[in-house]
Amino acid sequence: MSNNNLSIIHEKRDALDARPKHSTLHNWIGVVPFFIFTALFIILPSVTLLVHAFQDNDGKLTLMNFIGLLDPSILNAYWISIRISLTTALVAGCLAS
């Protein structure tokens, strides 16, 4: 009997029950701008990028763009970019921390 009483009190004090179970619509409205922004300025450009990478100047499907990437000057540019990014990231990262 007393044990039963205790458990009732315990349930009443349970803070988890005091919280709303689900996030309300109200909360979702706050993050809508974020999703609009990502959709417009990250996802949409990435998709266009991917589509246009496989098209030539007339809009026909092609792989020539990617074959063009194998040009030595372009590979060199990639290599310099990677090297400079790694150097600065490692140097600044080690010195700053």
Binding site: L49, N57, N65, L69, I74, A77, I82, T88, G93
Partner: protein, 205 residues
Amino acid sequence: MAYAITAGKLPNPIRTAIMTFSGVASNFAGVPLAFAFIATLGRTGLVTLLLKNVFRINLYDQGFNLYSFAGLSLTYTFFQFPLMILVITPALDGLKAEWQEAAENLGASHGMYLRKVALPILMPSILGGMILLFGNSFGAYATAYSLTGGFINLVTVMIGSQIKGDILYNPGLGYALAIGMVIIMLIMMTIYYFLRRRSERWLTK
């Protein structure tokens, strides 16, 4: 340096000053930054001439050149360094003084504490900061372009020249170059993911 301003017993105003400076300098990129470096370390820059006339050291005779790989790295470091300070300071604040005391009570030297306690705790944050820096300088365009004028061929500069179409005009190739950058970034993120998992291994045990 960030460790010095958090764990070191520096007066608070110094920390505020450094953090404010970091906030400004980490956003100081692009054409203004390139100009600032040309004006200080360029061929007739302030520091170059000072060293030459007062200390008789000619930087450019010693093999230094601002418009080279080393010069560009130095310029990038100017905004990378403060950014790293900004992102790593909160993590360093999380280091509890008790941990150091405990380590020292058990007979660890300061260097041992840094290597065996502080570094493993900070490793995920440091790696995260470094991947941020990598992405930051990988995508930088204006600084490199205005500093070297396309003398150093970065991928971003190449994309720019393919799309603007002064001499080279092939937007398709530009798009493909950009996809290549995305792929490299994905590879870096994968490496980062595995390194991070490795450095967090001891947390899950």
